[in-house]
């Protein structure tokens, strides 16, 4: 069932400060009651009051919190609202959100708080256009991030599960629609076995989600540059540095290396791309195309320039690709004889801006030597200050998308448990399809696929109907 009370993290995903999880909707208080442990029950408290307590997932205390209880209509959305002020830290805030989602709220759609605020008359009419823009742009972003998050192997896994579910449902349904041609008697046992398998697969996916294999947090960072500019050495230096956590993330494409790096308290998902240059080699071209795609989707682009070589047309191409992104340019190989200075790159960059009819904005440039590990500290400081100034941000949408994916997996698992429950309780076969289709729909929300005519099509393509 589509839950109508929504929740999301309403603050930026920084590692410092306070993180707020907002719950809005008719059931906001009852959801909060289920996760909040304090001296009193929240739903019995007056509006616009603040309470101290803990958020717990069952017996497991997650965080010490302050909770604001606000009743409709004097809230941002115009609905009952509970805001949970957590101690912060991306992990804790996301755990709190997950717990809230497990207890009856659903993950908010992009722009949904704003939309509700508007529809409940909390905003001026003139703001309608702006609200629409927020919804569309955030949707595009969420779609982009959710799809880019969903690596091929995971996507295929979910599709496999969906295919199994729809197959079994279609069999049951075809028998119900054409009982004289197809018999579903005794199918419960087969379906039970299949459901257990599907549940195991789902549990595995949820586990891997907890491991961070499915859902990644952090600033999407892409290292670009010509071949041999020193991109890989930079990545090695960064990942070997400080208390770096290096994770091999499954399912990454073979043509790009991806690592998760903690840097000055920030998390960077760094992708080292194939060098960008004009090439006739098809395989290499595919790698280059991929690199361009990553660059387009990145939050931060690190452009490594080989300072021992002159700029050429390949550099033009790269600059063309990244000039309007959040970029740091590293002039590498300061240990060698340099022929290229900051001024040369800046001049080139200006040309690119003019060519595109945009006014020039300066880009941080740092001279480094990946080999000698020089200039790395300065690079880190630059990233950090960009982040603190707000010119670089974690994409919280990525986070919300992740939370949504995980809660969709849990919903699907829950539905499959109900299928097995119905089988064990000796319910008639037509009851199985209700929960099977719920599971199918939940999984579809991860891969961005609606149900539409899927069931009817599956029935006709797989089973021979009568007349």
């Amino acid at each position: 069932m589509k839950k109508d009370t929504i929740a999301a993290i309403s603050t930026g995903m920084t590692n410092s400060g306070i993180g707020i999880v907002r719950i809005s909707g008719e059931d906001a208080f009852s959801v909060a009651d289920r996760v909040y442990r304090g001296s009193r029950i929240l739903s019995g408290e007056p509006s616009h009051t603040i309470h101290y307590g803990h958020i717990a997932d069952g017996d497991d205390i997650i965080d010490e919190v302050l909770v604001m209880a606000m009743r409709a209509p004097r809230t941002f959305t115009g609905e009952d609202t509970v805001e949970i002020n957590c101690h912060g830290g991306t992990y804790v805030v996301s755990r709190v959100l997950e717990t809230v989602l497990k207890n009856g709220a659903r993950a908010a759609e992009p722009g949904e708080f704003t939309k509700r605020a508007f529809l409940n008359g909390k905003m001026d009419l003139s703001q309608a256009e702006a609200v629409i823009d927020v919804i569309t742009s955030q949707n595009e972003y969420a779609l982009k991030s959710s799809l880019s998050q969903l690596k091929g192997s995971l996507r295929n896994k979910i599709k496999d599960i969906r295919n199994k579910i729809i197959y079994h449902t279609a069999f049951i349904e075809s028998a119900l629609d054409d009982p004289e041609h197809i018999s579903v008697d005794g199918y419960g046992e087969t379906l039970r076995r299949a459901s257990i398998e599907i549940m195991d697969d789902l549990k595995e996916l949820i586990r891997s989600a907890d491991d961070g294999k499915v859902m990644k947090e952090g600033i999407q960072t892409v290292i670009v540059g010509k071949p041999n500019a020193g991109k890989s050495s930079l990545l090695n230096v960064l990942s070997g540095h400080e208390r770096a956590i290096v994770t091999d993330i499954e399912g990454t494409t073979r043509d790009a290396l991806e690592e998760q790096i903690r840097l000055q308290g920030l998390t960077l998902n760094v992708i080292d791309t194939a060098g960008i240059r004009r090439t006739e080699d098809i395989i290499e071209q595919m790698g280059v195309d991929k690199a361009k795609e990553y660059a387009r989707e990145a939050d931060l682009v690190v452009y490594v320039v080989d300072a021992s070589r002159e700029l050429d047309e390949n550099d033009d191409k790269i600059l063309e690709l990244i000039y309007d992104k959040k970029t740091i340019i590293l002039l590498n190989k300061s240990d060698l004889k340099t022929v290229l200075g900051e001024e040369d790159v800046r001049k080139k960059l200006k040309e690119i801006f003019e060519l595109n009819g945009k006014s020039f904005t300066p880009v941080p440039m740092i001279g480094i030597s990946a080999k000698e590990e020089q200039g790395i500290r300065e690079f880190e400081e630059t990233v950090k200050s960009m982040f603190l100034k707000g010119s670089l941000s974690f994409n919280e949408e990525v986070y919300i998308t992740n939370a949504r994916q995980k809660s969709a997996l849990s919903d699907a698992l829950e539905s499959m448990e109900k299928v097995v429950g119905s089988i064990d309780a000796g319910m008639p076969e037509d009851f199985y399809s209700i929960d099977l289709m719920d599971a199918y729909e939940s999984l579809g929300s991860i891969t961005g696929e609606a149900i539409g005519e899927d069931l009817v099509n599956e029935i006709f393509s797989k089973f021979c109907m009568g007349k």
């Binding site: 508007f118 569309t136 037509d430 069931l455 009817v456 009568g466």
Partner: protein, 630 residues
């Protein structure tokens, strides 16, 4: 008085409503319109073909049985007529949940037609006219009448099109084709062009029927007998169950085999479907035997049901073997089936192609969006089946009448009935084949059961004016009894007496450790309301249909409540209406695909918009905000 050579007969003000076509849709439409007091004329190419069943000899079946009951609950005729003319009846899926139980009756085809014709003939305000309608007359986007092949003009204020499979119909088998409607009846060759001139978009669909075989040539000893139910349940809520306990006739089951499939495979190149001679789109759920053999090569056999066409004919319908193969192949193929070795074909199997409309041009009242007063129903709208036709015909007829009454059209939504699912699907979704009702199409099927069709729709039928005061009062009484008995069962305590434990044990149910209620016991899968009668001492005497509702309501309470919550969500979006005058081009943030679809279909509510393929949740959000700002 002498008339000039060029004059035509013009009927200026004799009729309010004209119904074109007297099949299952047309009959319901005309009866509804006339019963609501409007002077109605129904046109047919042949009075002898009123309510004809040119394909299978049955009414009902999975989900179709639901439709018949809903038609009946609203005051339609189909259920009553089949109750008077059936020769065998079964409740399908009776071992499954109540939501998928479905009645299916074998009809005496000739008797069915004759009985329905009689109902029409005796209906006040209703005239039957044998004549082909060739033109729909309209002025300023409003229908003003129809014109017939003879040139005569019938002025009226609303028209209901129920032309079935007759528009530019062509029947085909092998390389033989005739330009006729079903059963060699005259096709209607002009109306399509008239509609096109009015801007109506047409499709070409295809369907088919198997051969009819002489009963005297069939060896039934090689087949399995299929009997009707011992206790027959009527379709109509007005039929006395005792009246339908008749002597039933049997159907017979046999199978195709490898030899049959071999014959078909070897002659596929002679099938008009595979050679490309048929251009129409055929239904996937009702495939010809050659389709089945091609699509499911691993199946060694397919079921074949031999069903009587009536009591006063020897013709038998060969269910499961519709075909458009040439005549010689048909003989070989049918005769390869056990029991049909010496089969004599009375009528060949054939495929039929016909014109129908893209139903997305209709409102959910079944009125054309661009032609006021023009309504349509049945296969003309791209559906298939007698029951689907009757359901649409009834709604189209009701709404044509309401138009003239100056009332808002009746729309049954997806949470109220299969009729709602059927019409919403037809007018919202892209449809490339004749549409058949299926229980899997109904999201809230646990609520839309055949057993509670009266509870769902009779009040509406009463408000419309097709249900008598007496029938309405009976319904209210039934509601009261159900409510009272459900509450009593919820509050009646059962102790752990020996009698109770013994009864539980006799049904293999776990003994009680402490007291409980009757309702709690009903919820156990192995028990039911009926089974608990011996230990439920204060139970009142109640009619069967009341007890049935109490049992279902209590037993499936959890599931039912869950669906009711889903329905609440669904209704919220249905209630958000989209004004006719909305300019989608003004909403820049809609994606192009969504904008095109919305402009084409012009949904009446946000709910309907959300069901259009190509309109995303984000587009719906944008629409909501846009409408909120107006």
């Amino acid at each position: 008085m002498k008339y000039s050579a060029s004059s035509v007969w013009e009927n200026k003000d004799e009729y309010d409503i004209a119904v074109v076509g007297a099949g299952h849709a047309g009959c319901e439409a005309a009866l509804a319109a006339a019963r609501l007091g409007f002077r109605t004329v129904i046109f047919t190419v042949s009075v002898d073909s009123i309510a004809l069943m040119p394909c299978n000899p049955n009414i009902g079946g999975s989900s179709k049985g639901h439709l018949v009951r809903e038609v009946d609950a609203l005051g339609g005729e189909m259920g009553k007529v089949i109750d008077r003319t059936f020769i065998q009846s079964k409740m399908l899926n009776s071992s499954k949940g109540p939501a998928v139980h479905s009645l299916r009756a074998q009809a005496d085809k000739a008797d069915y037609s004759r009985t329905m014709r009689q109902v029409l003939e005796e209906q006040e305000h209703l005239d039957i006219r044998q004549m082909e309608v060739t033109d729909i007359l309209a002025e300023d986007g409003r229908v003003t009448g129809v014109q017939t092949y003879s040139g005569a003009i019938y002025r009226c204020r609303a028209v209901v099109l129920c032309t079935g499979t007759y528009l530019k119909a062509r029947c085909i088998y092998g390389d033989i084709s005739t330009y006729t409607g079903p059963n060699g009846l005259q096709s209607a060759n002009y109306l399509t062009d008239s509609l096109k001139k009015l801007g109506v978009r047409m499709y070409r669909f295809k369907t088919g029927t198997p051969a009819r075989i002489d009963r005297n040539s069939i060896d039934f000893s090689r087949m399995e007998e299929q009997k009707g139910d011992e206790r027959v349940i009527p379709f109509s809520f007005t039929t006395d169950p005792e009246d339908v306990q008749i002597d039933q006739v049997s159907c017979w089951l046999t199978y195709t085999n490898k030899k049959t499939h071999e014959i078909i495979r070897q002659n596929l190149d002679r099938s008009p479907l595979f050679s490309g001679a048929i251009e129409g789109t055929g239904p996937r759920y009702c495939p010809s035997i050659e389709d089945k053999v091609v699509k499911f090569p691993n199946k060694d056999r397919h079921q074949v049901f031999i069903e009587p066409e009536g009591l006063h004919t020897t013709e038998m319908y060969v269910g499961g073997m519709s075909s458009s193969l040439p005549e010689d192949v048909q003989y070989a193929m049918y005769r390869s089936v056990p029991g049909l070795e010496n089969a004599r074909i009375v009528r060949n199997a054939y495929a039929i192609e016909y014109d129908c409309i893209d139903a997305r041009q209709l409102k959910n009242t079944l009125e054309f969006k661009d032609i006021e007063g023009l309504f349509s129903g049945g296969q003309f709208n791209g559906s298939s089946g007698y029951e689907e036709a009757a359901a649409q015909g009834l709604i189209a007829g009701i709404n044509a009448a309401r138009k003239l009454q100056g009332k808002e059209g009746v729309v049954i939504d997806r949470s109220q009935g299969y009729i709602g699912v059927l019409i919403d699907d037809l007018v919202t979704k892209e449809n490339h084949e004749p549409y058949r009702m299926m229980t899997s199409r109904a999201e809230y099927r646990l609520l839309l059961r055949q057993d509670n069709a009266d509870l769902r729709l009779t009040k509406l039928g009463y408000e419309i004016g097709l249900i008598s005061e007496e029938r309405y009062q009976r319904l209210l009484e039934k509601e009261r009894l159900i409510k009272r008995e459900t509450e009593r069962a919820e509050h009646t305590n059962i102790g752990t007496s020996e009698k109770v434990q013994k009864l539980l044990a006799s049904f293999g149910s776990t003994p009680l450790t402490s007291g409980t209620t009757i309702a709690e016991l009903i919820r156990r899968p192995e028990l039911s309301y009926e089974k608990l009668a011996p230990i439920d001492e204060k139970r009142p005497e109640l009619p069967y249909d009341v007890k049935e509702q109490v049992d279902i309501n209590i037993k499936y309470d959890g599931y039912i409540k869950r669906q009711m919550r889903q329905v609440e969500q669904f209704r919220k979006l249905e209630k958000k209406k989209i004004p006719d005058a909305i300019d989608y081009d003004e909403i820049q943030s809609l994606r192009i695909e969504a904008r095109q679809k919305l402009k084409q279909i012009r949904p009446s509510s946000i709910g309907q918009a959300s069901r259009i393929a190509g309109v995303s949740p984000a587009d719906i959000s944008v629409l909501l905000v846009y409408l909120g700002s107006k």
